[in-house]
Structure formats: structure tokens, C-alpha cells
């Protein structure tokens, strides 16, 4: 039953990626990862209702996929070792995730089957009252309360971080696309002239590579390290 194409929400980016690979009947390899990149990005584009905190997780994986693809486009590019680990890492995580996704269905069957074990109930007191223990002190109360507050703070921090990290990537792709709807040409220096962040330039570049792969744009350059000219490819 889990093999039907799910149109509903996916549990997460790995879930989506796994489903795309399995739908194509592919093994988890570098080649299959770059094959499903387009579909992965298309999914994010089409589903605007992905919750913000989840979207960030999707975009992290999208960035990794774009990276893998751009590596395939530029085979001569020398990569730092850390960067070349991305493929293996994604492969590894997908395989780990797959194990649990499959076994979760077993857990579902076992957990929801009418096979229960019960403990004896009669020892449970009828009324639950609060009796402060002898070791209750002001300090202990204070500590408990601080722990509780910490528990909530911990969550908020994490969300902020993951949103900040990735939202700009998908924005950039749409930005370039919408600009090219109105304009025929665009140049890279101009596009990145206003930004101060290096990451933004990298993201713009990756987004362009993606658009080249989709055959939406053509890039040209007069000399090495010169400005890059971006042209829209007309639909035939």
C-alpha cells in the first residue's frame, strides 16, 4: 500500500526524494540523485503550502541536489574534500531513512493490532493528590521551572536557525525566472552587484546552472572570469 503515488504531504525531504527514486525504479546512487533533482524542485515550487519550518528542511536537501547536479555539469571543477562528501552523505542518509520508513509500517501493524498487554490496575490510587515531598525546597522549585523554560527556548532557537539558512535559494530561482519573463537578457554582474553576501552570489550561480540544465537560459562569456551574459531561450 505504501507504493502508491502519494499526492498528499510527504513526511520530509528524504521521504520525497526516496519516493521519487523508487518511482523511477532506481537504486540510491549519485546518478539517480541528479536525475530526480528537477522533480524534487518542481515539487517544492508547486507546493506553496509547505509549512515554513519544513520548507527549510526541504531546501537544504534541494541545495545539496543542485550541488550534485552542478558538479555533474562541471566535471573539471576541483572540489574540497568536504564538498565531495555531499553525495555519499545524502546516499547514506537516504539508506538509513529507508530502513525506518519501511519498518514504520510494521510498527503500525503491530501497534494498532488488537493485541494488548495490561498491567493490574487496582494499585492505582483513586484520587491523585499533590503532596510536596520532604526534599521540596525553593531551589528545587526554581530549578524545575528553569528546566521547563529551557525546554521551550530550545525549540524556538532551532526554528529560527533553519529558516534563515535556506529560504533565499528557492526565492532566487523564482526571481530569475520571473525577471526573464519580462526581459530577454540579463547579466551576472548586474544581478549580484547589489548583494553583499557571498552566499547570495553562490546561490545565484547555482540557480543559473539549474536553469541552464532546464534549458530555460543560455550563458555566454567573452573571456575567462569575464561577465556572464544570460539569455532566455525562446520556446520553439
Amino acid at each position: 500500500m505504501s507504493y502508491q503515488v502519494k499526492i498528499e504531504k510527504f513526511e520530509g525531504p528524504l521521504d520525497l526524494l526516496l519516493e521519487l527514486i523508487e518511482k523511477e525504479k532506481l537504486e540510491i546512487t549519485e546518478v539517480s540523485l541528479s536525475k530526480v533533482t528537477d522533480q524534487f524542485l518542481a515539487f517544492i515550487e508547486q507546493n506553496h503550502d509547505i509549512e515554513a519550518s519544513f520548507l527549510a528542511d526541504f531546501l537544504v536537501v534541494a541545495a545539496q541536489l543542485l550541488f550534485i547536479k552542478s558538479k555533474a555539469l562541471l566535471p573539471s571543477l576541483e572540489l574540497e574534500e568536504e564538498a565531495s562528501l555531499t553525495v555519499d552523505e545524502l546516499e547514506y542518509r537516504l539508506k538509513e531513512y529507508k530502513k525506518f520508513k519501511e519498518i514504520a509500517q510494521e510498527i503500525k501493524r503491530i501497534f494498532h493490532a488488537p493485541r494488548y498487554s495490561f498491567e493490574r490496575k487496582f494499585f492505582r490510587p483513586k484520587q491523585e493528590l499533590f503532596y510536596p515531598g520532604e526534599n521540596l525546597s525553593l531551589d528545587a522549585l526554581k530549578n524545575s521551572f528553569e528546566n521547563l523554560i529551557q525546554y521551550f527556548e530550545e525549540q524556538e532557537k532551532l526554528e529560527e536557525k533553519s529558516i534563515e539558512k535556506t529560504v533565499s535559494i528557492s526565492e532566487k530561482i523564482t526571481e530569475i525566472k520571473s525577471f526573464l519573463v519580462k526581459n530577454q537578457k540579463l547579466d551576472f554582474e548586474l544581478m549580484t552587484s547589489e548583494t553583499k553576501s557571498k552566499v547570495d552570489v553562490v546561490v545565484t550561480f547555482l540557480a543559473l546552472l539549474e536553469l541552464v540544465k532546464q534549458r530555460s537560459v543560455k550563458l555566454s562569456q567573452e573571456r575567462d572570469f569575464g561577465n556572464i551574459l544570460i539569455e532566455k531561450i525562446k520556446d520553439e
Binding site: 539508506k95 531513512y97 510498527i107 503491530i110 488488537p114 495490561f118 494499585f123
Partner: protein, 207 residues
């Protein structure tokens, strides 16, 4: 000469199995191994072994009472085979179905617990705060302080999860020994390397 074990284990008393059975019965709730250790003056290993023997005996004879074992405690519960009848006397309060996200997280905690939230999120690829909190509230996973790092908590399956699933031990989960093994990224890379070397060797040998 072999040095003997650092701690000399006490001799097991006569009728240990039977008196252990009585102790577990009279506790009426999960009784901690620590407590049993104090009662009999034995090591944890000796107690767990005997409890497991008793558990196997109940199972073998398909007795109405079974023994539920966790890492820390042991408890008498009903045989899940008879839940058609027992559930007319007792029941679980919450009967809402678990979502796929909850099942996935539950599976990771069950096979890899005790496990930190960061490790769970690494496997799932998504923030799991809400799913974990939901499972904690339902009493299916336990949140405990991490003995290695006070800033983080660790999660493991609860007795309630085992009872609801009719399992007497977490090792009764399907394919437990294989899935509970943690493979680190480094180990995965090593294995991949070995596999590809083997493939090359195989293809050379074939020629």
C-alpha cells in the same frame, strides 16, 4: 593467570526464580532492577538472566500472565493473545491512530533508543520537536536526561508502547538485531569502499 571478575558475584539463593516471581507479583507495578538488586544482594546481570528465563517460561507455556522487561525494570502483564477478553476489563485511554510521522519517529526511538533528538532528526531529515513531544505526551516515548551530556535529553520507548504493541521486550520487535545496529557515516563509507574493491576483484577474477 586470569584475573577473576573485579566484583565477586554473590551466589544465587535457593528458589531464586520462585521468590523473584513473588517479588515481581507483589510489586504490582514495574519494579526496578535496582530495587531487586538490593533485595537479593545480587548483580543486575544475575537478575536479568533469571527474569528472562521466567519470561521465556511464561511464553512457552502460553500462560495468562507474561513478563514485560525493559532496560531498567520488570513487570507482570497479561498475555496479549487474550486481549479480546482482557480488553473488556481494561483499556488504553487514547485510541487516536498514530500518524506516519509519529510511526517513523517511534520506529527510530524503538530500534535506536536511547537516542538524542539531533540523531533522530539526522535520520528523518526534518525537525521532530512536535512529533517527539506528541509521543511523550501520549506516554509512548520517555524523555530522560542524557548521562553523557546534561544539555541534551535522550529518548527511549516506554512500557506503555510495549504493552500497546503486545511486546514483552523491545528485542521482540521485527528484525531488531539488524536494525538496532548503528552504522555511522564513516562505517558506511568504509563498507562502500570495500564493496567496490570487491566488485573490481570479482570482475578481474571472472576474466
Amino acid at each position: 593467570m586470569n584475573k577473576k571478575k573485579e566484583k565477586e558475584e554473590s551466589a544465587i539463593p535457593e528458589n531464586f526464580k520462585e521468590s523473584l516471581e513473588s517479588v515481581i507479583f507483589v510489586a504490582g507495578k514495574p519494579i526496578q532492577f535496582k530495587k531487586i538488586m538490593a533485595i537479593f544482594g545480587l548483580e543486575k546481570r544475575q537478575i536479568v538472566e533469571e527474569a528472562e528465563a521466567l519470561q521465556a517460561e511464561y511464553k512457552e507455556k502460553n500462560r495468562g500472565i507474561h513478563l514485560l522487561l525493559t532496560k531498567d525494570a520488570v513487570e507482570m502483564v497479561t498475555n496479549p493473545a487474550f486481549s479480546k477478553h482482557t480488553s473488556q476489563v481494561a483499556s488504553f485511554e487514547l485510541e487516536e491512530k498514530l500518524s506516519d510521522a509519529a510511526l517513523e519517529t517511534m520506529a527510530i526511538v524503538a530500534y535506536r533508543g536511547p537516542i538524542t533528538r539531533a540523531e533522530i532528526e539526522l535520520i528523518r531529515g526534518v525537525n521532530s520537536v512536535y512529533t517527539l513531544r506528541n509521543l511523550s505526551v501520549r506516554g509512548l516515548v520517555l524523555k530522560k536526561p542524557n548521562p553523557d551530556d546534561a544539555r541534551m535529553s535522550i529518548y527511549e520507548v516506554s512500557e506503555k508502547f510495549l504493552k500497546h504493541s503486545g511486546l514483552m521486550h523491545e528485542t521482540d520487535l521485527p528484525n531488531f538485531s539488524e536494525l538496532s545496529k548503528k552504522t555511522t557515516f564513516e562505517e558506511y563509507l568504509d563498507q562502500k569502499e570495500k564493496d567496490s574493491q570487491k566488485q573490481i576483484l570479482d570482475s578481474v577474477n571472472r576474466e
